[in-house]
């Protein structure tokens, strides 16, 4: 079964045959990122028959991505679809594209506005990094208000939380960490941070940090906030070991990404909620714009997408709880 993926893993082998089609050069910041793998799939689906999509894996290394852009330009890409590793590096890519008059569609990670304004053929498709934090915060606030009497174990009216952070310096990790707490506070809920530590997006590391926190704070922990679902799952596995989620021992856990495993946990009541990034539409919009650009048409030509004043097509995040779990599941259809 593994073999079939070698072609579907990259739209590229198809590309060499379709060399009459206009070429779109694309970079994904990290190929096996669980969310980006969906965006990629949506891109491949949309690209089929329309453009020759050349996909690259930037392996979470901005320098590598810059080099891939050079390669794509050398290979004659008519437009670029760039999922930045590091959003501040957008200018360098724009400079390269501008020199050859190639349009650039940034997607998923947003460059500074000034960069988009500085090149008439630069656009953005995606969300705002902060939005996932905001939505996660709203989700927490709603759930807390509804269950305060049970969940505020020490009845001090304050929400005592531990936070599992992604890789320090990663724009998503930074934004989520900041906005989730800000949002909860902005809803008038008092919070107290018991512990925060990085688990580098990694479930195993999350389990181990959680082991230590459970041992140290035990029932003082009233909420577990994770920058992504992977770490949330890791935390759950530690909590289960400590006897949570059986009987009436419970602590609410939230994540971001809405990966299938997390949906399952939400259904089982072991997770309170997560935030879905709409992969399908991000991928589709990216290819729609890039295709038009490659063909020299107006980027919105024949599509229903709209640009906001920042030359961006916004694909919203959706918060997922047990109530709208089907929305999450549909994303994997």
């Amino acid at each position: 079964a593994g073999c079939s993926s070698s072609t579907s893993g990259s739209g590229d082998s198809a590309s060499s045959k379709d060399s009459k089609l206009p070429a779109v050069g694309a970079t994904i910041y990290k190929f096996d990122d669980n969310f980006m793998s969906y965006v990629r799939r949506a891109m491949e689906t949309s690209a089929k028959g329309n453009v020759n999509l050349m996909l690259n894996d930037s392996q979470n290394d901005q320098a590598k991505q810059i080099e891939q852009v050079d390669t794509l330009i050398a290979k004659g890409a008519k437009s670029l679809a760039i999922n930045l590793v590091d959003p501040k590096a957008a200018q360098t890519i724009v400079d390269k594209a501008k020199a050859k008059d190639i349009p650039v569609i940034f997607f998923n990670k947003e460059p500074d506005e000034s960069v988009l304004q500085g090149y008439d053929k630069a656009y953005y498709v995606g969300t705002t990094s902060s939005e996932s934090g905001v939505l996660q915060g709203e989700l927490i606030a709603k759930a807390w208000e509804a269950n305060k009497d049970k969940w505020d174990k020490n009845h001090d009216g304050k929400l005592q939380y531990v936070l599992l952070k992604g890789e320090p310096g990663h724009p998503d990790a930074e934004a989520r960490t900041k906005y989730v707490v800000d949002t909860v506070k902005s809803k008038g809920i008092q919070v107290e941070q018991l512990a925060m530590d990085t688990a580098m997006w990694d479930a195993t590391k999350a389990t181990e940090k959680m082991d230590a926190w459970v041992s140290k704070y035990s029932d003082k922990i009233e909420f577990v906030i994770a920058n992504n679902d992977g770490m949330a799952l890791g935390a759950i596995s530690s909590l289960e070991k400590a006897g949570y989620f059986s009987g009436d021992k419970f602590v609410p856990v939230v994540g971001v990404d809405a990966i299938p495993e997390a949906l399952e946990m939400i259904e089982k009541g072991k997770m309170v909620g997560t935030v879905l990034n709409d992969a399908k539409n991000q991928g589709k919009a990216t290819i729609d714009l890039a295709t038009n650009a490659a063909k020299g048409k107006d980027v919105l030509d024949g599509t229903e997408w709209k640009l906001d004043d920042k030359k961006a097509v916004r694909v919203p995040y959706v918060e997922i709880t047990k109530d709208n779990i089907q929305v999450g599941k549909d994303a994997y259809k």
Binding site: G9, D32, N34, S37, I259
Partner: protein, 350 residues
């Protein structure tokens, strides 16, 4: 000079026992380091001293002990293994994909029956055992330096497990929804009074014992030390150097495979990034535990202690709530200082 002359010397006994004791200290400094670390953390936070923390640390150390023992065999051969972490990832992905609960909605093999636990475990271990044996062949027969052979293998294995992992219908999603017998195997334990001692700890103890026996009581073990100590001499002494190297790599691969299975089960899911960089921690723990990177030297208790030192640092700093960045700095410094002390045992007295 000789022992005779020593016997002649008057105050020989005192001298001997004194140098004996200080030598003992110097030779066993890593155990002291471990002790000091624990004492340091306890002083900073007295509630560190609890059974729960002890169990946590031991169980976290367990899978690391197993991978470290695999890596250690190769280090003792004067080799190295950069592919260990990626092998763990491969085994994690393979075993998890075959051990998803039958009612889980996002199964990688939707039509796969639930298999007996041991089948996927064996498959995963055979896969990594075989791949690692190939590394061994590359090292032993084609004389590629282990650094390069295993670096190349690391990249190949990562590519392979990514292809296995990232494919329709669900793409690069963590492989979760593991069957209960799997999570029980890796997450549960033996209840003794109010505490549950995870099976993991027992797996680690059993593996350590087996490896101890192999290293100390079998021809393979002796040959391993001989090859690591002086490969030319080993060859002349009639050791089949290539064969033994390949077997040691294969054993390492089996251990990586087992580690991968445990990691998937322990965390409850697996991705192609599971195990990434574990080899670095494993090698470092081995060196802290007294394994010589130039080969020929290393003991099971030393390695276990090395792993424990790392785990006490990791767990202790998180427990103390040290800020993440400072954790990095402190951890780096402790490693250097611990080994600097340990090095005094090799310091040639001038």
């Amino acid at each position: 000079m000789s022992t005779e002359a020593l016997k002649k010397s008057g105050s020989k006994d005192i001298q001997k026992s004194k140098s004996g004791f200080s030598k003992w200290i110097v030779d066993n400094v890593i155990y002291l380091v471990l002790l000091l670390l624990v004492v340091g953390i306890v002083v900073a936070s007295p509630d560190f001293l609890s059974m729960t923390n002890l169990i946590n640390i031991l169980s976290q150390a367990s899978s690391r002990v197993i991978i470290a023992l695999g890596v250690a065999g190769i280090l003792i051969l004067a080799g190295t293994d950069l592919s260990a972490g990626r092998m763990v990832g491969l085994a994690a992905v393979v075993s998890a994909s075959m051990l998803q609960a039958s009612d889980y909605a996002y199964k990688m093999y939707p039509h796969l029956q639930e298999l007996p636990l041991f089948v996927p475990i064996i498959i995963a271990m055979l896969a990594t055992g075989l791949i690692s044996a190939i590394s061994g062949v590359i090292v032993a027969k084609f004389h590629v330096p282990p650094f390069i052979a295993t670096l190349g293998m690391m990249i190949v294995v990562y590519g392979t497990s990514s292809i296995y992992f990232d494919r329709p219908p669900y793409g690069a999603q963590p492989i979760g929804g593991l069957s209960e017998k799997f999570t029980t195997f890796a997450q549960r334990g033996i209840k003794l009074g109010q505490y549950e001692f995870p099976y993991l700890i027992f797996y680690a103890i059993i593996v350590s014992l087996i490896i101890w026996v192999i290293w100390n009581k079998t021809q393979l073990g002796k040959n391993m030390y001989a090859i690591g100590g002086n490969p030319e001499a080993a060859k002349v002494s009639g050791v089949n150097v290539a064969k033994n190297i390949i077997i040691i790599y294969m054993i390492a691969g089996l251990l990586y495979g087992f580690t991968g299975v445990l990691e998937a089960g322990r965390v409850g899911s697996a991705t192609n990034n599971t195990g990434n960089m574990y080899e670095m921690d494993a090698i470092a723990a081995c060196v802290v535990g007294g394994v010589s990177l130039t080969g020929g030297i290393g003991t099971v208790p030393g390695i276990v202690t090395g792993v424990l030192i790392f785990q006490v640092i990791n767990y202790g700093l998180a427990f103390l709530g040290v800020s993440p960045y400072i954790q990095f700095i402190v951890k780096g410094l402790i490693i250097i200082v611990a080994v600097a002390f340990d090095m005094r045992k090799h310091a040639k007295k001038k």
